[in-house]
Amino acid sequence: MSIFAQFAFNGIVAGSVYALIALGFALIFTASRVFHFAHGGVYTLSAFAGYTALVTFKLGIVAGFVAAIVIAALIGVLINILLYEPMKAGGVSPFVAMISSFGVLIIITHVVAMIWGSNPVVLSRGGQTTVYHFGPIYTTDAQMLIIGLAALLAIALYVFFRHMRLGIAIRALGNDSELAEIVGMPAKRLRNIAFIVGSALVGVSALLIGLNVGIIDFNMGSDIVLMATVAMIIGGLGNVGAAAGGGFVLGMIQNIAIWKIESKWQMALSFAILIVVLLFRPSGLFGAKQAASL
């Protein structure tokens, strides 16, 4: 039983990680209707930016996070301004932008490999990692931080989307961007804001997750953005809260499954769930009620 408690707790950590990534991914999708696979590239790049500030230049933890966030937000919004917006203006569907996005993911991934090398590097903020234990469960401070941050951001985004003008405007934009523009919303600026906020979120997450795992490598963003896609679809498309929920459920399932299934099948299991959801519940686990309102 105690081993199960640990798996369940690991599930909460992994679920919080996926929720964090899915939040940004879904925020961008809601505003632009693009499956922004390049998000995985932004994730990798910001982790390495944080690594450079923290480990290479030894500027401290705060500088590490600042570097990760700034780089992520900058690259994210540039991808929108230089690629997605012109495509949208040219009447190209978000579907084609999605294919383009694969190209951007490949570019960023391999540029990172050219700069920082293709071997994994150790990411640590120095000093000892504090291990806590509650009954049968072991955890570290990085993990506590991840869970706390995920919970905090989930609440903050809920308030943002339900009660603040900007959040409601972004939802309206995702619902019907033409209509939003007709009633005078600054659609472009709103989308840029979504890219900045969504990318900044992935920047924070990348460094946190890197610190938790202890190593980072150039390829790590590809898997994580696939998991964000799975999370968003099983949660419910076009709804940021549902995507976070989907991420949480995904992390829980993956880790509880380890009880019975070897961990090497995690990826396959996740995609099997994705396909089942796509076929039998395309609105997602939490999407049904909001489908009308979003």
Binding site: F35, L83, P86, M87, G91, V92, S93, P94, F95, V96, A97, M98, I99, S100, F102, G103, V104, L105, I106, I107, T109, H110, V111, A113, M114, G117, S118, S222, L226, T229, V230, I233, K264, W265, M267, A268, F271, A272, L274, I275, L278, L279, P282
Partner: protein, 290 residues
């Protein structure tokens, strides 16, 4: 000399893969990212049969093709019920699941793959030289090209384009859109799987990484760069994009970054063509990607 034969074989294999995928992407409007997985299934089936049973070439092609049909059933039956983005994501899911099987099953040799695969035998003659293997690869590419040309010029080809342009119209004429899509998916899969056979016999080894999602995206890049709905474009793109990065070898580019640079180049081409030239080098319509 050996080097040029090797490059030629690669070009022929990718020509087959690109044409087979173009039938889906360019002609029918189905953007599948599972092509590398299907290609891999053909390759693994060939390798396992050659190691444990027979390396008879015709038998290998038969079994690989049958495995292609089988995978089509698994991948296409559910995926074809979905549209656009969701079709793509479902095929991406299957790509990931199948890749995970290559990577983790015992019979497929896991991450190290399979090696020491015997040379193929055709009518009692063992094909050893890499030049003969190049001829095989080229023959498959030619057969694939000719059949694709016939299909796309036949009435069925018009049906494919009609499905791409307006499914409702096709359905309203009493044709089964699903049946049309499924038939072309199976055809495409058979050739992708057969390309897998050629790949295995050319390398006499197999590595799961060759069948990952990146590879599927690379084949899509070839289709888009060549031109959606253009068979000649597919041939041109396969040749150009395989040969071009080989030029890095003759420039003073360090070994360590050459493979990365190659990927960056492919990524740039995918972005450039989807952004500025959606009809590709020789495309039928600009509107296939709209």
């Amino acid at each position: 000399m050996e080097y040029f034969v090797y490059i030629g074989t690669l070009v022929a294999i990718y020509t087959t893969l690109t044409i087979s995928l173009n039938l889906l992407v360019g002609y029918t409007g189905l953007i599948s990212v599972a092509q590398a997985a299907i290609y891999g299934v053909g390759a693994y089936v060939t390798a396992l049969v050659a190691l444990h049973l027979t390396s008879d070439l015709l038998a290998s092609f038969m079994l690989a093709s049958m495995s292609g049909v089988l995978v089509s059933l698994v991948v296409a039956l559910p995926s074809l019920r979905l549209k656009n983005e969701y079709f793509l994501i479902a095929t991406m899911g299957f790509q990931a699941i199948i890749f995970s099987l290559f990577m983790n099953l015992d019979i497929t040799g896991g991450a190290s793959g399979l090696y020491g695969i015997p040379h193929p035998v055709l009518f009692g003659h063992t094909i050893r030289s890499s030049f003969e293997k190049f001829l095989l690869a080229a023959a498959l590419a030619v057969v694939c090209y000719v059949l694709a040309l016939r299909i796309t010029h036949a009435p069925f080809g018009r049906l494919l384009r009609a499905v791409r342009e307006d499914q409702m119209a096709v359905a309203s004429l009493g044709k089964s859109v699903f049946q049309i899509k499924f038939s072309i998916f199976v055809f495409s899969a058979v050739f992708a799987a057969a390309a897998g056979t050629i790949y295995v016999y050319s390398l006499t080894a197999i590595d799961p990484v060759a069948f990952a999602l990146d590879e599927s995206i690379f084949i899509i890049t070839l289709v888009i760069v060549g031109g959606t709905g253009s068979l000649n474009g597919s041939v041109l793109a396969a040749a150009a994009l395989i040969v071009l990065p080989e030029a890095f070898k003759f420039l003073a580019i360090p070994e360590a970054i050459a493979p990365q640079l190659r990927q960056v180049l492919y990524g740039l081409l995918l972005v450039f063509f989807t952004r500025y030239r959606r009809e590709g080098l020789i495309g039928e319509y600009r509107d296939v990607l709209k």
